[in-house]
Assembly symmetry: C2
Homo-oligomer: 277 residues x 2
Amino acid sequence: MHEMNANWDDLRLFAAVARGHGLAKASKATGKSAPTLSRRMLDLERATGRELFRRLPKGYELTADGEALFEKVTTLEAGLSTIWNPPARGKRTLVKISAGTWMSKYLCEKMDAIVGSDDSILVRLISAEEVLDISRRQAIIGIRNHRPHQRGLAGRRVGRVRFAFYAINKDVNPWARYTGNTPSAEWLGKHADEREIIEVTHPRNMLDLALAGSARALLPTIVGDRQSGLMRVSETIDELEGDQWLVVHDDDRFSPAIRRTVDRVFDVLRDLHRNHS
Amino acid sequence: MHEMNANWDDLRLFAAVARGHGLAKASKATGKSAPTLSRRMLDLERATGRELFRRLPKGYELTADGEALFEKVTTLEAGLSTIWNPPARGKRTLVKISAGTWMSKYLCEKMDAIVGSDDSILVRLISAEEVLDISRRQAIIGIRNHRPHQRGLAGRRVGRVRFAFYAINKDVNPWARYTGNTPSAEWLGKHADEREIIEVTHPRNMLDLALAGSARALLPTIVGDRQSGLMRVSETIDELEGDQWLVVHDDDRFSPAIRRTVDRVFDVLRDLHRNHS
DNA sequence: AGGTTTCATTTCATGCATGAAATGAACGCC
DNA sequence: GGCGTTCATTTCATGCATGAAATGAAACCT
């Protein structure tokens, strides 16, 4: 057996067998069964080319070679004792997720899948139409409609987003118009002309108007197609079609807690696109 | 994850990943696949509660925590380098097996199963009726008709041995009598009376006489019943019935080579008894 | 912009290490 | 001597860690 491939974990188990003077006590200490320990000790004797134990009816007794190895293993065990620190308890990682109105709404529906039983994170969902600065840590995770170009940011493409009008039926003609600074809001401003318009200052009010039968709302198809009580009343708008990205700061990929959260947010978003297209 | 259960082998793999600056080179060095290494590094990060790597498109880069751990692991790796010595090559263990005539004959038939491809042992089969002193290492393994009582000897019961007369047919009347110092030889001396006797000074000559049709031979049933050309021509002799034991010195149980040989001899003998009874 | 290469991660099938159960051995007690 | 206990080892079924294959991402080249 080549040195590089010998299982170091057999050393840890060896120490437990030596301390317990046999397999029975070591089995309790390590959570491995006695048959497994028996085999692993034979593996270790083969790897070292030495007889480490006398196998007696009442248990295992170290040989001189075994005593020497035990000393070496307890020394390295002590040296390793500082590396197995669990993360500080009660110290949650704040994970700021920024998304627009429609994505925020969806993430709220799926928050159980994002947080679950993970008590090492504290999620703050920042619902805003403007783009927060991830490189300055205004957000940790961003849902974006552009690929990240900024240095130090990493992006994962989630899917494609299209816009269309939605209403309770085709007879509804007025447009609900959001007056903010988004591509879809700008499109509405450019194409409204002399149409009957109802202006709102928050995107969710467009949806309210549509559901009330008062106006058509320009919504992402992944949102409108899932909304009961509404139907699509136009073709999709080519100008507004684009990709959706999950953006993270490179440095934050190193925290297991953040990695897990990123993965779960990504999964949730991918599900949305997968079930839609 | 509790410290006692953390897998030390992850540390060995960690060093390989750190040296190879990623999973691809470490996979070649360790013989583990990249997916496995990826999972094991995540396991280790969980056990330590630290981010050990930056995961980049071109591979893995150690964090400061990772650098610290790498230093510690290479130190312990160096400390362990002397324990993985393979056994000295070309140095065979001499395994002296002592048995009486009939068991020696049988073991010779089964020597392939005992030695096989095991080139770490050299078997010396000592065929003798007298009992060699295992505690003084005249023999390493003994096939005995008594349970070992001597301190430091360990015995494993193989089976039961019975004696009966064998001949080519019931019409053969002379007895072949071995003049040595065994229980069956003594029994023959006590019961021969005025019978026609042919004396021999070696047990195998009794068999020769029987096969030649010149005499009856008192043989263990496990021997006589297997001998083509002979049939049992008497009931078994109660006085001569007894157990057969495999006896080893306790100290010799620690050598893997001897252990293996003991196990194989035991298996071969058990087969004999199992197929017979 | 499209294609190729290299790397890591995910998905899925399966080999093998593991543990439950059975077995064997030794010891102690009645 | 028979029975019970404790321990280790063997046998057999199976859960899970592993690796093959697929997938995704980034970088580089044309």
